[in-house]
């Protein structure tokens, strides 16, 4: 932030208010605005057609408003199309997986950065290499493992894979924060005869609240959007999540555009809501988790 303000000052003093400079800036803004329009318009179009019926979608201009907003599309898919069931499956599986992932990743990150033991760097390496493994290369053995243990068509297959495959990225997001966290409080606690468990739960964990929220939101987004595991391991409607459920639903209602639009809107609304409320955390998490490969 500081750098930004300093830079801005130097630029204004260097460039003053010369006209060519202003035109140049106008062009730059135009470029950025065009990109923003491209990024947003498909979603705006989706919102509009989710509130129209087929006749209006096919005959009106793409961005025209319908005669009246047809919220009944939403009501119809929510009550008739299993969408509410898929939605709640997505919610509870996401919540459970995220909670366990965050706790386990915090344990590991604490042990890796705060405690002293042999094999530390080897274990860290194991988790980090996990980031590079394509999920498709694990899919068939996982399917076979879950079939043997009767976990296909069981929510546990989904929750276990979500936890496991999100551990590396979550640990990666947490590591940077733990490294910068001061150790004085913990050292003092050790002097006072505190146990490791107490130090972790009542000192370290509360201090990491901000990175925890970043990790939670990133995990949430990943789990909410996950497709291939559910599509492979779950075949009964009872345990399908939204990503796979909307596939089914749209397969049955291919010609009802309004209903499809409403279904898609329902599936992305929680993410859009999280984005509006927590965009800074999301940006932080994506930046922290990106430098892998």
């Amino acid at each position: 932030m500081q750098i930004e303000t300093i830079e801005r000052k130097t630029v204004t003093s260097a460039k003053g208010s010369k006209l060519p400079g202003q035109i140049g800036y106008g062009v730059l803004y135009l470029v950025l605005a065009v990109v923003a329009v491209i990024q947003v318009f498909p979603l705006l179009w989706l919102l509009l057609f989710s509130l129209k019926n087929n006749e209006e979608i096919f005959n009106l201009a793409p961005f025209a408003l319908p005669e009246r907003l047809r919220w009944e599309n939403y009501e119809k898919v929510w009550t008739q199309g299993h969408i509410s069931a898929y939605f709640f499956n997505s919610v509870w599986m996401t919540v459970v997986s995220v909670a366990v992932t965050i706790l386990l990743a915090s344990f590991v990150t604490f042990a890796l950065t705060r405690m002293k033991w042999k094999l530390q760097s080897f274990i860290l390496g194991l988790f980090m290499v996990g980031l590079m493994i394509p999920v498709h290369s694990t899919l068939i053995p996982l399917f076979s493992l879950f079939t043997k243990t009767h976990l296909t068509n069981h929510p546990l297959s989904i929750i276990l894979t979500y936890i496991t495959f999100n551990l590396p990225i979550t640990i990666m997001i947490m590591l940077g924060f733990y490294y910068t966290l001061p150790r004085e409080v913990e050292e003092a606690a050790v002097m006072d005869g505190c146990s490791v468990n107490r130090i972790f739960f009542s000192i370290t964990l509360p201090m990491t609240a901000s990175v925890l929220s970043t990790a939670v939101i990133i995990n949430m987004i990943y789990n909410w959007n996950e497709f291939i595991f559910v599509n492979t391991f779950i075949s009964s409607d009872k345990f399908k999540t939204l990503t796979v459920g909307i596939q089914n639903f749209i397969g049955q209602y291919t010609t009802d555009w309004g209903a499809i639009g409403a279904t898609l809107m329902i599936s992305i609304l929680p993410i859009l809501l999280a984005f509006v409320l927590l965009s800074n955390r999301i940006v932080e998490g994506i930046a922290a988790g990106s430098v892998k490969g």
């Binding site: 470029v31 989706l46 201009a61 590991v108 002293k116 033991w117 291939i228 909307i246 599936s267």
Partner: protein, 293 residues
Amino acid sequence: MNKVMSNKSVIALYVIPSLLLILALIYMPILLTGYYGLMKWDGVGKMSFIGLHNYTELIRDELFWNSAKHSFLLAIFSTLSLVVYLIVALVLSAQIRGANTFRKIYLIPMLLSSVAIAQLWLKIFHPTNGVLNHILASLGIEHTPEWLSNPSIVLYAIFIPILWQYAGFYILIYYAALKNVPSSLIESARIDGASPWRIALSIRIPLIAEVMKVTVVLAVVGSLKYFDLIYVMTGGGPNGSSEVMASYMYRKAFKEYDFGYASAIGFFLLLICLVMTWLIRRATVTKDSIQYS
């Protein structure tokens, strides 16, 4: 301090649950994929050992090489598109007011599930009622393309939503890296009379070389394992013209029940991802890594 913080039973308690998960659900499956690749197996019945047959078959399989070609084309497109993202990030970091808002807006598509994106773009690409052909028609273009059913353009069409989906992600990474370039360097170049282009090419871009390397790895490896969007939009069709390695593997396993052969593809996919990561990192080793923090 050392005594408390190297308490072996606590370390075991903190690390072993996560370690078991990644060993059982990530590392064991990738070894098993290679092993299953040596078998003839329909996924449920008995396996029979056939040596390297699946792998030699793979080398001769034209359909596989066709899908590999598509995956590599996507990887090349993605790498080229990084240039566009870099330019947008350079514009964003040119002391633009509202840069933070712009980069957040750009990020929205990246947060949505590939399934929802695929379903939305199926509608956008719809030959008669889709918004894209609507716009093209209103611009006076008479023969609007059948984006997804024309085998010669389907792969390019599919790349459009991919471009749209990941734009915000790469712009975010580049923008964050560019913000880290010390303003003192840029300022002194400016005083020496360097043009903004010159500053971008000779100072800013070289200083974020490390980050660019990471993004190339992400783009290439990410494209090689691309699956969800293509699976939902075209299922690899029409007639294999948008098949990629992961969708080909999925078809072999879960549609044709040739699990042994599909495992061989999965193992090959893993090797290719690891080799490409290694190759790109090697090919782009910076002679002396530049420090800029």
